[in-house]
């Protein structure tokens, strides 16, 4: 099959999988509720348990899964294109974890009382700070390897500091909370979380997608991209801000869901080609699809307590990811 056929095929597949997984996601949950019944009640204007569960719990959760999956995978694809390195992703570089740290500090030390916007704002500032720090520390001659190593160090430090902050927080459920922030979860999310994260994620998406052509040009290296008329500094700012906005908003409501940002672009490259710009939107769709599926599985698995969704994304994606690396090792150089 030619690449163009394959990319059309995968676009169709992605576009079909999202409504399918969306439906499955809506239909799964800890309580038995008929979603169709809920929708019917809603249309008739009746207040029923089914309609309440649908509109207050299931729907925001499923939409969040789509938006967060889209944000994380889009950010991963953007960072891989910017650094010209397949090892980059917001969680690997510590961008997500720094966002988590900021959210945790704000949330558990009472600062969130100032308003609903404080948590996503803190998470985004944290993410932005991490991204800025990486680029500042890497200095003027930024090799991708330096940037990734700095990111890994920041990730480890902020992870430790998050645990520390949670331990000292006046909160009896610290251990459970650590799980939530470290592995990520979409349980117990409501329309409030959706509404406060969505605008920031949208801004991030627009910023990242506006750099599509620049990322394509970066395939030829920074010097050539510059000679092709791109304002490297401005494009980098746009991209890093976009990643911070979408990743920050995502982690503010779902914790650090790992692996999606790293994995999805890799899964899609054999199907849609390696052009970094083109990969952006496909990756977003792929991330949305995978997170919907993972969040559905989390709810279907039996157990006293719901599994963190990050466990499933890594457990699902890991083996497939390894398979792809082995299959493509000659291409990856």
């Amino acid at each position: 099959m030619k690449l163009t056929d394959r990319s059309g095929f995968s676009l169709v597949l992605l576009l079909l999988s999202i409504p399918l997984f969306f439906y499955l996601n809506l239909n799964s949950g800890p309580t038995d509720a008929s979603i169709l019944q809920g929708i019917q009640d809603l249309i008739r204007g009746e207040q029923s348990t089914d309609s309440l569960i649908f509109i207050e719990i299931r729907l925001p959760r499923a939409i969040l899964a789509i938006c967060i999956g889209f944000s994380l995978a889009l950010s991963g694809a953007a960072l891989q294109g910017l650094l010209i390195n397949p090892l980059a992703s917001p969680d690997l570089l510590g961008v997500s974890q720094t966002g988590v740290l900021a959210a945790v500090i704000v949330l558990y030390y009472g600062l969130s009382a100032f308003g609903w916007f404080i948590i996503p704002l803190a998470a985004m500032s944290g993410a932005l700070l991490a991204a800025a720090l990486i680029f500042i520390l890497a200095g003027r001659y930024q090799s991708a390897l330096t940037i990734i190593l700095i990111g890994i160090a920041i990730n480890a430090m902020t992870m430790a500091m998050t645990s520390l902050a949670l331990n000292f927080a006046p909160n009896p459920f610290a251990l459970q909370e650590i799980y939530f922030w470290m592995l990520g979860s979409l349980s117990n999310r409501s329309n409030n979380e959706l509404l406060f994260a969505l605008p920031f994620m949208l801004v991030g998406w627009v910023l990242i997608l506006s750099c599509k052509r620049f990322l394509d040009a970066m395939s030829l290296g920074e010097a050539t991209a510059k000679s092709l008329g791109f304002n490297i500094r401005q494009q980098k700012y746009l991209l890093v801000t976009g990643v911070a906005f979408s990743t920050g908003a995502a982690v503010a409501v779902s914790g650090n869901i790992s692996f999606i940002g790293l994995m999805i672009p890799h899964l899609l490259r054999p199907l849609v080609g390696h052009e970094p710009g083109r990969l952006l939107f496909y990756s977003g769709l792929g991330g949305a699809s995978l997170l919907l599926l993972a969040d559905t599985l989390v709810q279907l698995l039996p157990g006293a307590q719901e599994l963190q969704v990050g466990v499933v994304t890594a457990a699902l994606g890991g083996p497939f990811f390894l398979y792809l690396i082995f299959k493509n090792r000659h291409v990856l150089r």
Partner: protein, 259 residues
Amino acid sequence: MSAILQATNINWRIGNAQILQDISLQLNAGEIVGIIGPNGAGKSSLLNILAGITEPDSGALQLHGAYYNTLERRAFARQLAYLEQEARINWPLLTERVIELGRSPHQSAYSRLEETDNTAIAQAIAETGIAHLLGRNVATLSQGEKMLVALTRVFATQPQIILADEPVAALDPNHQLMIMELINSRSRNKSNAALIVLHDLSLAARYCDRLILLDGGRVASEGSPSAVLSDENLREFYKIECYSDFNEPAVVQPTRRIN
């Protein structure tokens, strides 16, 4: 002849190292100028500065009399194209995707390839004769083929000036001649011009109208190939002796090292 590219008193340093010192040069329409010099003379740095990729510490750069910093980036990129050493391509892209990138300066952030873009791309492909490489993954191409693809990308921009950094350094003799001939035939067109960093002195003598010899970040000698590649200059700056013959086709073959 009028200068289309002019550099005046360019200085550039990294830390304490003065890489370029008081360099002035000009490029005229219809001309191919070669920049030569031993390793570390500042050739690539100079080319980067002329291409607008690096900013010099001091000095003036003008394109058609307009200072670089007054020109809009993409308008600048439409007139002046840069061919990087080794023509690195970081992802295993299809050949045509790489060539299409040459149209970036003509496109806005969201526009698609239009009729004029496709015509320019088709022309460039016909000019370099690489239609047989279309549909190939660039990771599977030889170094010579990669350089041809990169040159096609540069041609697709339809620039007036081409700045090339050692475009033939890693190529076999056949590809060396092919690349030089392609740049040559395009630059002979009245309004075009090229500035090429070269290590191969024979190619420099054969294809360039003028040579600029850099040494230690300064212009050591400038003029016709036979004047710049004089036995004295080769001895003083390259520390070599050569067998030279400037009749067509010119040959400058190093024969001995001088200590």
